[in-house]
């Protein structure tokens, strides 16, 4: 168990800067999720912590020890890869035991540790199988098992659930969270899926173009996004952005963001919109409208409410407290 500290970490590939200086303090036993769209540098950041990429400048510390020049195996970390990276010719047992064998752990202890991990992950009956004889979820578990048996100080996850189908993803998400709680190991988890980020994280890091836009508890980030990007990326359906020019006297900032659940269709509203179509999801209904200037706006309302017909003109209203204004650079004002 250990803390992880990143100090002004930068990465360039040749002349291209990928990470423009990230600072992060991870407490012992904390579950941190790095989330962002593809190409934002989140995987590169994780791989720098793992030691699979060199750090161009800045400092990476694990457990208070500077590890910039330390090989991955000596960093006291374990990593779970997106495609699991299981050794195809080895049995599940050998896959999990390989790192321990290299570390010259005594045979009886290897067997103990693998047995414990297998029990924890319900893999006991599969220990003699090869990876190709397992389902996606089981392979995922083996990859986790391989990480667990090493008893690392830090778990690193690189989009571990993206190769699973939706149902399994939800199940594994819960398992990962439970496992991390049980083991109390510091975890750094990369994903592009904001639902995973919201549900797993103690704190999340929203990355955008090589910069950490915002670091905070999931609900704080959701309720109080620091930038237009974060407001748009976190939350589903995404935040609506309106041109303040349409709403004279409201603010001098050019952009107004309102989450779909904060919009109401009322008789007397601040904005007129035309209904494009409505998606009834059972418990709730998403109503997609178009406002003057052509922007698309989504209203999320309870299923009990009346659903307006397509082409109908409606009035939209919101509380002042729910309005988020952003300046021309996308910063919150």
């Amino acid at each position: 168990m250990a803390t992880v500290t990143l100090r002004n970490v930068r990465k360039s590939f040749g002349k291209t800067d990928v990470i423009h200086g990230v600072d992060l303090e991870i407490a012992d036993g904390e579950f941190i999720v790095i989330v962002g769209p593809s190409g934002c540098g989140k995987s590169t950041l994780l791989r720098m912590v793992a030691g699979l990429e060199t750090v161009t400048s800045g400092e990476v510390e694990i457990g208070g020890r500077l590890v910039n020049k330390v090989e991955p195996m000596d960093r006291d970390i374990a990593m779970v890869f997106q495609n699991y990276a299981l050794y195809p010719h080895m049995t599940v047992f050998d896959n999990m035991a390989y790192g321990l064998k290299i570390a010259k752990v005594p045979k009886s202890e290897i067997e103990d540790r693998v047995a414990t991990a297998a029990k924890l992950l319900q893999l006991e009956e599969y220990l003699k199988r090869r990876p190709r004889e397992l389902s996606g979820g089981q392979r995922q578990r083996v990859a986790m098992g391989r990480a667990i048996v090493r008893k690392p100080a830090v778990f690193l996850f690189d989009e571990p659930l993206s190769n699973l189908d939706a149902k399994l993803r939800v199940q594994m998400r819960l398992e990962i969270k439970a496992l991390q709680r049980e083991l109390g190991v510091t975890a750094l988890y990369v994903t592009h899926d904001q639902v995973e980020a919201m549900t797993l994280a103690d704190r999340m890091v929203v990355m955008n173009g090589g910069v950490a836009d915002q670091v905070g508890k999931p609900l704080d980030v959701y309720a109080d996004p620091r930038t237009e990007f974060v407001a748009g990326f976190i939350g589903s359906p995404p935040t609506n952005f309106l041109d303040t020019a349409l709403l004279p006297g409201l603010s001098t900032a050019p952009s107004l963001g309102i989450r779909p659940e904060h919009l109401q269709i009322e008789d007397q509203g601040r904005l007129t919109a035309t209904v494009s179509f409505a998606e009834a999801l059972g418990a709730e209904t998403l109503i997609h409208c178009r406002v003057a200037g052509g922007r698309q706006v989504t209203v999320r309302q309870d299923a009990l409410h009346h659903i307006p017909a397509e082409g109908e003109s409606v009035q939209l209203n919101w509380a002042d407290a729910d309005a988020m204004f952003f300046d021309a650079n996308g910063r919150r004002v």
Binding site: E71, P72, M79, A85, H89, Y98, I102, A103, R132, R150
Partner: protein
């Protein structure tokens, strides 16, 4: 529907025709081998008196024993051993060297990496025969004439096998190397524990090809072995042909030819099972 029926009928007839064609082809190719076998089981007289017999005679044991123990210039048994050592040496040497060079080219970033790869690739375009004189010179200066090293070493470097392993290594996901790195495997450990077992089907397939390549070497052994005790079997057969007025001992020569075919056939049959099993196993 009618068209479909027609196709089925056609395929029925086509099936017989293809089989007939294949059977004729096999007989056509097999006939000379059969003749050689027949000739190795009869007496010299039977062969020289037309018509030549088409059914095996009763001298099988006698002819083969004579070939194996005395031969014409050297006992065939000794030549078989020589050929076996050379073919195994070439096949294994080529596999080891090309595995290592492919590993270096794919997994390590070193200066002029591309250049080295293309240099290796370039040698593909030069057959042994083109560089045979300078190679002979080198081997002669190393005093390796009439030795196994001389037979094996010049043929060991292989661009084809290097290229093949390079292509295979490039299909191995990078994450596997990274996972091994996180697990603490040093490069050679990764190579031996992970890359090598994953390449076993390729190795088996290459072994078959390279063993036969080594076994069938003719020109190179002919040049550098002057001692009959170092002759390999493929060139040995040619050496058995009479020069001048000597009488050819055809039954023994034919027995030698048949014996020369046995090891490659065994390798193909034996390894085929192994690498087909390997292919099925590695199939996801």
């Amino acid at each position: 529907m009618a068209e479909r029926n027609g196709m089925v009928e056609k395929r029925g007839a086509g099936l017989w025709l293809t089989h007939l064609g294949l059977i004729i082809g096999v007989l056509f190719i097999f006939f000379p081998i059969w003749l050689a076998f027949v000739a190795s089981t009869v007496t010299q007289q039977d062969i020289s008196q037309p018509p030549m017999p088409l059914m095996p005679g009763d001298k099988f044991l006698e002819n083969y024993a004579r070939a194996l123990t005395s031969g014409v210039n050297a006992p065939v048994a000794a030549m078989l051993v020589n050929s076996l050592i050379m073919a195994l040496g070439i096949a294994l040497g080529k596999i080891v060297i090309s595995l290592l060079s492919a590993f270096a080219i794919v997994y390590f970033r070193f200066p002029l990496r591309k250049l080295f790869f293309w240099l290796i690739f370039l040698t593909l375009m030069l057959p042994v025969e083109v560089r045979i004189v300078p190679t002979y010179e080198v081997i002669a200066n190393f005093k390796m004439l009439n030795s196994y090293q001389g037979l094996i070493l010049p043929l060991v470097a292989s661009a084809t096998a290097t290229f093949l392993f390079r292509q295979f290594f490039m299909t191995v996901p990078d994450e596997l190397a990274e996972a091994a790195r996180v697990d603490g495997a040093k490069p050679m450990r990764f190579f031996i524990d992970i890359l090598l077992p994953m390449s076993r089907t390729n190795i088996a397939a290459l072994f078959v090809i390279l063993f036969i390549y080594g076994w069938n070497q003719y020109l190179w052994p002919l040049l550098i072995t002057t001692d009959p005790g170092m002759n390999t079997i493929v060139m040995g057969i040619k050496q058995m042909f009479p020069s001048g007025d000597d009488l050819a001992d055809w039954p023994v020569i034919m027995a030698t030819s048949i014996l020369a075919m046995v090891p490659p056939v065994l390798v193909v049959v034996g390894m085929q099972r192994l690498f087909v099993r390997g292919l099925v196993e590695s199939e996801k």
